[in-house]
């Protein structure tokens, strides 16, 4: 039935017919008011409750994820701290073994030096008889009056002469003794210096140990906080892990660029070995072979770093005994060196091919033919690059390990943020539905306001108090116990 027909059911005038329809609708709506309100209310409440439930579940999931993230971060940090403390202890051990293992000898040396200094000092302190006493005796004899007696005078002169001679000898002995003391004191100087240097060395070693022990203390404090599952340390570690993620990502990007250069260096000459036309899937076999060489180099670099215990991605390698590990280091290094040599020769071949290609292109294009000459600098440069790049790529293992470890944290953080966002959106949608339900109820009552008003007036006339209450409850349909609570 068309709209036009509907508007002519009650009267030929569409206006009248529409008014009749409106009246019917209002009456029907008024009669079905209570179930309609219940339907709208229960639908909006039900949807909101369901969405809140979903939001709570997602929130729980986020909580669990956060806990898991925290556990992962703390576990990684605990492992790293343990490793750090362990390596610090190894360093201290090496320091003690290197510098303090010779401490008894050093102590003996210091004691000897001190003994020598003491002995020299003791020797230097033994002084001869004081010269002033001799001088007084000589002066007293020289001053005895002669009284004209020749014999007495001669005797006295002889005595004076003998005494003077003895005095001179004593003075000379005294001078000699002083010179000896000065010599001994001079001898002490290098011993003092030696002692001072030795003590400085000991001081340096001890302060190195102090620094190390301070670092260990710091690490131990962090370790204790990690063991105590502190939130603050988890936040700090997460932040640090994200920084690590970006730095490692940047270094990996550089490594990828290096690999691309490496690929360009060996792809062309590779076609000389495996053919330039055959293909594996959508790629040229030569390109695949070049990629395989680069990948194998990276893998060897990974094993080398693992064998050297710089990275810890393969526990099976880390747990090998030292002899086996050393063998693995040698094997991986030899393979890496061989591949680097192959790359260097491929780079040389590439230069020759480029030279040939340039010559034929010049010949075919009809441009002036320049005799192709071997150019040493680019050739040697390419060879060096071909040789160095595999070793440089070997170090990719270090940022790769950091990246993989940090990736888990980064993904965890991103997932947690997404879950939080989803929770927010679900709650928002729930609230919007709930309030839309209230708006619908109010709009419903607005449509049937005339019969409602009539009902209200009728009730007021019969029972004013009850009617007021009923009216309030009817005019505020959304206001129920749940809303008030």
């Amino acid at each position: 039935m068309a709209m036009q027909d509907l508007l002519q059911v009650w009267s030929n005038s569409p206006g009248v017919s529409a008014a009749v329809w409106l009246a019917i609708i209002v009456v029907v709506l008024y009669l079905g008011r209570t179930p309609s309100h219940q339907l709208i209310r229960s639908t909006s409440h039900g949807l909101r409750a369901s969405l809140r439930l979903v939001a709570r579940s997602v929130g729980k999931m986020e909580e669990r994820l956060n806990q898991s993230n925290k556990a992962v971060v703390l576990s990684i940090a605990r492992e790293a701290t343990e490793r750090g403390v362990e390596s610090e202890f190894f360093r201290i051990n090496a320091l003690v073994e290197r510098d303090l293992s010779g401490y008894p000898a050093l102590h003996r040396k210091i004691s000897d030096v001190i003994e020598r200094i003491e002995s020299d000092f003791h020797n230097a302190s033994e002084a001869p008889a004081a010269p002033p006493a001799w001088l007084d005796a000589v002066e007293a004899i020289a001053n005895i009056p002669r009284n004209g007696d020749v014999t007495a005078s001669r005797i006295l002169d002889n005595i004076e002469k003998t005494i003077k001679s003895a005095h001179n000898e004593t003075q000379q002995a005294y001078k000699k003794s002083s010179a000896e003391r000065h010599r001994l004191l001079k001898q002490m100087l290098p011993s003092w210096r030696n002692l001072s240097t030795t003590i400085d060395q000991v001081k340096g070693t001890i302060s190195g140990l102090e620094e190390r022990s301070r670092f260990i203390d710091e690490q131990m404090q962090i370790y204790q906080r990690i063991r105590a599952n502190e939130d603050s340390i988890a936040r700090t570690l997460t932040s640090s892990s994200l920084t690590q993620f970006f730095i490692a990502g940047l270094v990996l990007l550089i490594a990828i660029l290096g690999s691309v250069i490496n690929f360009q260096l060996i792809a062309l000459p590779m076609s000389e070995m495996v053919g330039g036309t055959s293909q594996l899937g959508p790629m040229r076999t030569a390109d695949v072979a070049a990629l395989v060489i680069i990948m194998v180099e990276m893998a060897m670099g990974l094993f080398l770093m693992e064998s050297l215990r710089i990275t810890h991605m393969f526990p099976i390698i880390g747990n090998m005994n030292d002899a086996m590990r050393k063998r693995m280091v040698i094997v991986t290094f030899v393979i890496l060196a061989a591949l680097a040599t192959v790359e260097a020769s491929l780079a040389y071949m590439r230069d020759l091919l480029a030279l040939d290609r340039e010559a034929i292109m010049q010949s075919l294009s009809g441009s002036q033919l320049v005799e192709a000459q071997f150019r040493w600098i680019p050739s040697v440069g390419q060879m060096m690059m071909g040789f160095i790049l595999p070793f440089a790529l070997a170090f990719v293992a270090i940022p790769l390990e950091s990246f993989i470890h940090a990736l888990r944290t980064a993904l965890g953080v991103i997932a947690a943020v997404l879950l939080r966002l989803i929770t927010f959106v679900i709650r928002l949608v729930g609230n919007v539905i709930y309030h839309t339900g209230k708006v619908f109820i109010a709009a419903y009552d607005l449509i049937i306001m005339l019969p409602l008003r009539v009902e209200q007036l009728t009730r007021t006339r019969h029972n004013p108090n009850k009617a007021v209450l009923n009216t309030r409850s009817r005019t505020e349909p959304g206001l129920n116990k749940e809303t008030l609570s």
């Binding site: 000389e272 053919g275 036309t277 055959s278 293909q279 076999t285 091919l353 290609r357 034929i360 010949s363």
Partner: protein, 217 residues
């Protein structure tokens, strides 16, 4: 042992696949040079085109240059033909040799009494089929004026399925200047013959834009 055998079979299969791929991407070009009458003077331009083709083609591709003379349906008319080696260094050497042979021919080329273009195209079709290349081109460097020996029969469809035939430097004859319809009729006739044989037909007279030669499918 079983594993080794499996590995061997796998590598053979991969090798087979790779070889199949290699042919499916390759290009084969057969160029016909008209050496009849006054058109011999145009051969210097053909040299440029051959050089361009040598620059464009690479390992695995094939090229042949043949002359159009009184009876062109013959291997003897092929001046030089080569399928470039997989190794780039060998391919470069082959290009040098090829260029040398074509240059030699152009230096000593003499005009023939008759012009058997159809025979040359038929010969080209056979050569291209044998290469098994994915993209096949026949380049006809001629004024397209066929002048057959009376006993030669050429009025049949030439099989050119999947071949692009490009007419290059189709010069106007003195008679064409008097009645240009003859030139257009000549072109239409050849287009019909090529299309009837299942090939695609193009005309490229502007030799300044050789990059359009092999790029259009």
């Amino acid at each position: 042992m079983k594993k080794m055998l499996l590995l061997l079979m796998l590598s053979v299969a991969i090798g087979g696949c790779s070889d199949m791929h290699s042919r499916s991407n390759s290009t084969a070009v057969y160029m016909l040079l008209d050496s009849s009458g006054t058109y011999t003077e145009e051969l210097a331009k053909a040299q440029t085109i051959v050089n361009y083709l040598l620059m464009m083609l690479d390992s695995g591709d094939s090229i042949a240059v043949a002359r159009i003379d009184s009876g062109s349906f013959s291997e003897k008319d092929i001046i030089a033909k080569v399928t470039f080696d997989e190794r780039p260094s060998a391919a470069i050497a082959q290009k040098k040799d090829f260029k040398h042979l074509v240059d030699q021919f152009i230096d000593v080329a003499k005009g023939s009494a008759h012009t058997d273009i159809s025979g040359g195209v038929l010969q080209a079709s056979q050569f291209l089929d044998e290469t098994g290349a994915a993209k096949k081109y026949v380049l006809i460097f001629s004024d397209l004026e066929e002048d057959l020996i009376k006993s030669h029969i050429r009025d049949f469809a030439i099989p050119l399925e999947g071949v692009q035939v490009v007419a290059l430097n189709v010069t106007k004859l003195r008679a064409d200047n008097i009645d240009p319809r003859k030139y257009l009729q000549r072109l239409d006739l050849w287009q019909k013959r090529i299309n009837d044989g299942g090939g695609d037909w193009r005309v490229v007279n502007d030799l300044e834009h050789l990059d359009r030669l092999l790029s259009v499918n």
